[in-house]
Each structure stands twice: as C-alpha cells, then as structure tokens.
C-alpha cells in the first residue's frame, strides 16, 4: 500500500491532541420550505478519529455535511469550532477555518484540467498570476503521493466517473485542513480504489485530523470507524463506539426494524448454462453478442444472456464494462453481431435499443440519468411516455401519475411531492428514480451499471428483489458493479473483464472473491 504520509499538506496539525473535540454541532435544525431535513441534530468530531454517519437515503446526512462545509446555513442551532461558536458565511469561510469536504455529488468543472480543478481555490503564483508549471508539478506530486494514476493535464470531461471521484478526493486534500468530510467517497469506486481511500484516511488520522465518513457500505464503516452515528429522519438515533456494535444492530437502528438478509434468495433452480448437457438446445439466448468490439473502448467480446438470467460483469475501474453496456445501448458505434431472440439487430441509437426492449440504468445519474430541474413525475416517466406506445400524441396524465406513484411507493423514494424538482432529492433517492425510470418500460433486456450507487441497505435489498423478480419473469439482466459481493450474490453467471477484454466466464457455483479478483487483476492467466 502506498504511503499516505507524503502528500503536500502545508499544515500538519500538531496542536490537535487525539480525542479532543475539534468541531461540534448542537441541535441543528434545517428546513427546506415546509420539509424538515434535520431536527435537533448534534454531533462531535474528535481529532485523529473517524466518525461515520449511517442512515437511510434522505436521512439528512449530506444536508448536515453541507452545513458543516458552509454551503448551507442552518435554520436553527449552534456550531462550535474549538469550543468557540462560529457562523460560516460560505464555503470559502469554512475552508479558511480548515474544513474540507468531498461532496457526494461530484462538482468538478469538466472544461478545465485536473490540475486546474485541484487548485481551484488557490492556484499557485504571484500577484494574481498563475504559475501553470508549478501547478502541474504540484498536482503531479499530490496525485502520485495519493497513488492516483491520472495525468493532471487531462481535461476532467475525459475522465470516467471513478476517476473523477478520485480527483475530487485529491482536491479536498489539497488544502490545509483539520476536519475532512467525506460524503460517500467510495460509492463509485472498486475495491482496490476503496482500499486506497482507507489508506488515505489512516494517514489523515495519524496526523490528527477529524474525519467524517459517510457510506452505505456498512462493512467499510465497521472497518474504519472510531465512532458511528446512525441517523433517521433528520435525527441522530445513537452514537456507538468502535467494537461496541454489530452490523445487524446498526441496520436495525437505521431502518427501524431488523433486516433478515442483504441479498434476496436466488431462483429456485439456477438456469442451466448454455449448452449444458442437462437441457440441450431447449433454450435460446435472448441476447447474443459475437465479435463485439469498439476501438479504444473494448475488443472482441462474445457472450450471451438468456431470458431469466442475471449475468454479472466484473472488472477493475476502467476495465471497459460501462462502455460495453453503452455500446449495447446504441451509444457507440461498435462492430460485431448482435442478435435478439435469434434475430440480428442493429442498435445505432438508444431510441432503437429501447424499441427493441433494452433499458440502461447508467452509472452517471447526474449527467445521463436525470433532468435535475424537472419534477420527480416527469423524470420517472421520461422514457415511458414516448416509448411505451410508439407514435402516441397525448400524454395520459392519469396513467402517468399512477405509474410514478407506484414506483415511488415500491422503491420507498423519499419525496415531498411528485412535483418536487429532482435536484432537491438526496443522492440515494435520485438513484432510485433512475432505476424506476427504466423499470417503467418493462424491458426485455435490462442493462445495469452500478445500479445501487449510494443506495441505503434497506432500499438495496428492495432493488435486488426487483431485479430478481424481473429475471424470474423472463427479463435478461446484465449487472455491472464494482461491489464484488453484490455481483457474486446476484449473478447467475459472472464475466470478468480486464483491460477492455473478456478474460473469464464463471458459472454460479464455486465462486470465491479471491478467484474472481485474481482474474480481474492480472494475477491469474486468462
């Protein structure tokens, strides 16, 4: 593991004795119009320790963090730094007081380079003039120290979402700070990148920083936290110290009831693999892909997906999985043969793909999934209103309303009203909307790219159950995820991609995380 001690931090905070309370909020309340996002929330952050926040989607975690970072002003309540009451006038003020935040929703300027983004708030130079060389050099040093392999002169728009997440982390660490807020920093990262982030956190701890860590991956939280607070409906339910609690207890606190399992049971009889002697020739693949390639993105893929089957795709970040799905959805010009139900098809645009019954839950909800300024209603029915009945002129408003209402209930999406703009929803609830949008189409082939990114444990179970249900009803599902346990638990068959090629196909039985990981990294020969 790389050393976390070497990135340039101008202010190593020696004064902060470990355990001392650096930042405290008391009885913070935050309301948006009539809706209360936080109710009398209190929290203490200690130097050299990791305080994790756990809670369902919409519990108010991000709202609290935005208040700490000066982005939002609390409606009521106190905030104390080193025991002194303060009022933050804005993000700049918070930054000057040593509070750094990694936001849940990525906020980098795509038109600028990585280096420009890293130094957005304090570019090096004299008298207002930027020293670009120095900035590049410093950026390179910072990224190298963090173990991030990205060229700082690249434009952010050209990075994958995982890479952007890493840049976001580096940006927050590129300033003198005493408190580091991490709002779901690993939600779009794979296991190895996540481990890297944990290394960084260790380094921060060692230097006496107070860290707030938010994640829906409970195992992560168990692993790194010193204290864990559980939030529900804008309140702090309880704060536990490391080692005093269990995953089950936390989940029960979080959702208000115990959760029996994380993954729903698989189908009673796992579908037989193609060509297996048990069911010779009885089943035809619903989707079959041969010699599928797209220069620069992925090469020479052959696979098939049967009706009722969930095929998992695993690989490291940048392995090319997202591009495969996008190409299947008609977003990239790809070579090769695609057959649906034995019929060759051409997929040149999403419109054509949808017309063939393909749906695609994209990983980047902000850019590709949602129209943030429009209502929940319109976002859920976004594809449905014009794809369901081709050539229809009028919108059936009643049907639309009923449909949206149904999915909001089924997925437990927390909204104030169906007319609420999606921008106001919490990250996890936005993700559920993207999922709902595609379910509404009742697809034959469902492409899922990180479908549970930022979704809480309870809702994840529900999403898994729905995926399972759809498969049972005959949908062919391709699941791409960087959470290996998720892929392992859900997939009937698992394909591993490495360096833009398919390297291995596993049947459901006899799978261990280690074997899969070995193929995903170069440890096992293909």
């Amino acid at each position: 593991m790389m050393s976390a001690m070497h990135w340039p931090d101008p202010a190593s905070d020696a004064s902060a004795a470990p355990g001392r309370v650096v930042l405290e909020v008391r009885a913070i309340t935050k309301s948006f119009g009539a809706a209360l996002a936080l109710k009398d929330m209190s929290l203490r952050l200690r130097a050299g320790s990791v305080h994790s926040l756990l809670g369902e989607n919409g519990a108010g975690k991000s709202t609290l963090m935005k208040i700490l970072a000066g982005v939002l002003q609390p409606s009521r309540g106190q905030m104390l730094i080193d025991g002194q009451e303060v009022r933050l006038s804005g993000p700049g003020d918070a930054r000057r007081r040593g509070i750094a935040i990694i936001c849940q929703e990525l906020s980098l300027a795509g038109n600028l380079s990585v280096a420009d983004n890293l130094f957005a708030n304090h570019p090096p130079g004299l008298a207002g003039l930027i020293d670009d060389r120095q900035m590049l050099r410093k950026s390179r040093a910072l990224l190298a120290a963090l173990g991030i392999a990205i060229d700082p002169s690249t434009l952010v728009a050209q990075l994958s979402i995982a890479e952007r997440q890493l840049v976001e982390i580096a940006k927050a660490l590129n300033q003198p700070s005493r408190v580091v807020i991490m709002d779901e920093p690993t939600s779009s990262l794979g296991a190895s990148e996540a481990r890297m982030v944990f290394g960084i956190i260790e380094g921060l701890k060692a230097r006496g920083k107070a860290i707030v860590y938010i994640s829906h991956r409970i195992d992560e939280i168990m692993q790194i936290s010193d204290e864990i607070s559980v939030m529900r409906d804008g309140r702090c339910m309880d704060t536990k110290v490391r080692g005093q609690t269990s995953i089950e207890a936390l989940i029960a606190l979080m959702v208000g009831r115990p959760l029996s399992a994380i993954y729903p049971p698989g189908p009673p009889h796992p579908p037989a693999p193609p060509g297996s002697p048990a069911l010779p020739g009885t089943r035809q693949a619903l989707l079959r892909v041969q010699g599928f390639g797209c220069t620069g993105r992925f090469y020479d893929l052959d696979f098939e997906v049967h009706a009722g089957e969930i095929v998992g795709f695993f690989g490291l970040v940048g392995a090319g999985r997202s591009d495969v799905l996008a190409a299947l959805f008609g977003m990239h010009r790809a070579s090769g043969r695609i057959t649906l139900d034995g019929q060759p098809v051409r997929l040149r645009s999403p419109a054509e793909a949808i017309a063939h019954g393909i749906a695609f839950v994209t990983e980047n909800r902000k850019e590709q999934g949602l129209v943030l300024d429009q209502s929940v209603l319109h976002n859920i029915t976004m594809a449905h209103v014009h794809c369901r009945r081709q050539g229809a002129w009028w919108i059936d408003e009643r049907e639309e309303w009923r449909l949206a209402q149904g999915y909001v209930q089924r997925l437990g999406i927390k909204i104030a009203s169906l007319h609420q703009p999606v921008r106001e929803l919490s990250g996890g609830n936005q993700q559920k909307l993207v999922f709902a949008k595609w379910l509404a189409l009742r697809p034959r082939v469902l492409l899922l790219d990180e479908p549970t990114r930022g979704v809480d444990a309870g809702a994840k179970f529900e999403i898994y159950r729905i995926i399972r249900e759809l498969a049972t009803a005959g949908t062919a599902v391709i699941l791409v995820s960087s959470e290996l346990p998720e892929v392992l638990a859900m997939s009937d068959r698992l394909m591993v991609m490495r360096a833009k090629r398919l390297v291995k196909t596993f049947e459901r039985r006899n799978l261990s995380q280690e074997t899969v990981m070995a193929y995903a990294t170069a440890a096992a020969a293909p």
Binding site: M331, P350, A353, I354, T362
Partner: protein, 316 residues
C-alpha cells in the same frame, strides 16, 4: 392533485409576472383616461399579436436551450412571398399554404444546419438572418409590395364576432401551442431535452429530430406572423420586423422562459408580450417623448422581472 395545489402551481408559475402586468395596467389606467377602454385594450392585444405569435415559436426554441435570431427575417421573407404571390393573383388559400410552407422550410433549414451539422444555433440563425433578409430584398427588389387582395387583408384588418381577426389567430395559436407544450409527448420531450440533452438521448429521445421539428415550428409561427403583418400593413415589406427577434425573445424570457433551456410556458410568453405592449401603448397615450420612452420601458421591464424574481425566491 387537489385544486388548491393546482392553483398554487399556477400562481407559482405565472404569479409574479402576472402581478407585474396587472400593476402596470392599473398604473396606466390611473395616469391616462384613454387607457382603460375596451377599444384601447383590444388595441394593445392587436398590437402585440404578431410579436406574441412569433414569441410562441421562440419559446419552443428557448425551451430546448437554443436560440433563433432569424425570425425577424423569416417574417419579412414570408411576408414578401405572400405579397408577391398575391400580386400574381394566386388564389388566397394557395398563398396562405405557400407562405406557411415557406416558413416551415426556412425553419427546417435552421434546424437541420444546427442539428445535423452541429453548428451552434446562434451562429446558424445569425447567418440565416442575413441570408433570409437578403432573399427577401432580392425577391422584392428591395421595394415594398403593395397588397390589395380584400380577403387577404382581412387576415390583418378584418373582424369576427366583434374582435379583430389577429386576436382570434393569437387566441387559437395560444391554445394550440399551450396544449402541445403541456399535454403532448412532443412538448414533454422538448422540456426534457432542454433540461438535460444527454439524459434525453439516453431516454431514447431523438434529440436531433426534435430540434429540427422545433426550429420548423418557430419558422411556421414566424410565417404566420409575417402574413398577419403583411395584411395589417397592406403591403409586404422586405425590411419589416428588423430586430423583432430580440423583442420576441425578450417577451418569452420576461414570461419566465429560461435561455438555458428547460423552463417556459406559452401563457408566460403571452404575458411577457402583453407587458411590453402595455408599456408601449401606455407611454404613447401619455405622450412620453420617444427618448424617455426608451428609458422608462427598460426601467419598467427591470422592475417587473425583479418583483418576479424576488417573489420566486421568497416562495423558495
């Protein structure tokens, strides 16, 4: 959907700017006795009808986050086409059809250049603004074409059930465009694509096709405007409607349409156009000198929008 929230949404949507309009009407009613008469109010609606019709088309375009600066030139060119065809004694229906077709084609050209070649619509329509205007001048030799076809003139100057024909046209197009925008799949697509084009593509919306359709609609509305104008002026003017594109865009933006796309309504646009019309008419009735009219008009627009913005902020 309860009635109260329905009205609440209506109030939220048009509230501020509608209040602005009403305040203006009251103000001028106090200041000028000739203002609040049926005749004069009809007058105002008549005077804004053309700009409002054109602004309906512009609203679609802005909704998509695009811009159309060529509508003034399309008005002039379509008007000239109508005038020239009438001069050749073509039957009325044919003239109307040909003029509308002309607007359709011009709009489609804008849309195709922008959507298929990927040229920013600002540049496309700045360029076609010149091209269409040049064509209008060439077609008519730079000279106005007098129109004396009685039936055609009625489009601009006739009456039906006591109301001027342009007002009927305005009302019909308002109803039509409002329905298209709020009730049809097409309208929904426009809002979605304007709000986030990438997400719209992923949702299977053929955004390029949509863009062409929307510019075509804008061209069509401008053609209607050109016909009404030609009929109202008894002549087709190749240099008519100079700079009206800005007026039409201003009406739409005043009415709450966002230049960045994704927001806007036809009713709002009409209110925006009426505000401009009321200001112009009121100041004329009060005999405000021209130079001061420029200043007052700017100031009133600022105040009206400012109230609207503050209102929206307060309600969150």
């Amino acid at each position: 959907m309860s009635v109260s929230t329905y009205w609440g949404r209506i109030a939220r949507r048009y509230g501020g700017i509608l209040l602005g309009l009403i305040a203006l009407v009251l103000l001028f009613a106090l200041l000028s006795p000739a203002f609040l008469t049926t005749g004069n109010l009809l007058n105002i609606v008549l005077q804004v009808s053309i700009i409002a019709i054109v602004a309906f088309g512009i609203t679609y375009v802005l909704l998509l986050g695009e811009i159309d600066l060529s509508v003034g030139a399309i008005i002039a060119l379509c008007g000239s086409v109508a005038g020239l065809l009438l001069a050749r004694e073509m039957p009325l229906l044919w003239v109307v059809g040909a003029t509308l077709a002309c607007g359709l084609v011009l709009g489609a050209v804008n849309g195709a250049l922008s959507a298929l070649l990927g040229i920013p619509s600002f540049i496309v329509t700045v360029a076609t603004m010149g091209i269409f205007r040049g064509l209008a001048f060439i077609a008519s030799d730079g000279m106005p074409v007098p129109v004396d076809d009685e039936a055609f003139i009625r489009i601009g100057n006739g009456h039906m059930l006591g109301l001027p024909v342009p007002i009927w046209i305005l009302a019909a197009l308002l109803a039509l465009n409002h329905c298209v925008l709020s009730k049809t799949v097409f309208g929904r697509k426009a809002y979605l694509a304007g709000g986030n084009a990438e997400a719209a593509v992923y949702a299977g919306i053929r955004v390029k096709r949509l863009k062409i359709a929307i510019f075509t609609l804008s061209g069509l509305m401008a053609a209607v405007g050109g016909m009404v104008l030609t009929a109202r002026l008894y002549s087709a003017q190749p240099n008519a409607a100079l700079g009206w594109e800005l007026d039409a865009i201003a009406a739409a933006v005043l009415g709450g349409t966002s230049l960045a796309g994704g927001y806007g309504t036809m009713v709002g646009t009409l209110i925006g156009a009426l505000i401009i019309g009321v200001i112009n008419n009121g100041m004329n009735l009060m005999s405000v000198p021209y130079f001061y009219q420029l200043i007052v008009k700017g100031a009133v627009i600022l105040v009206a929008v400012c109230i609207d913005v503050q209102n929206k902020k307060r309600r969150g």
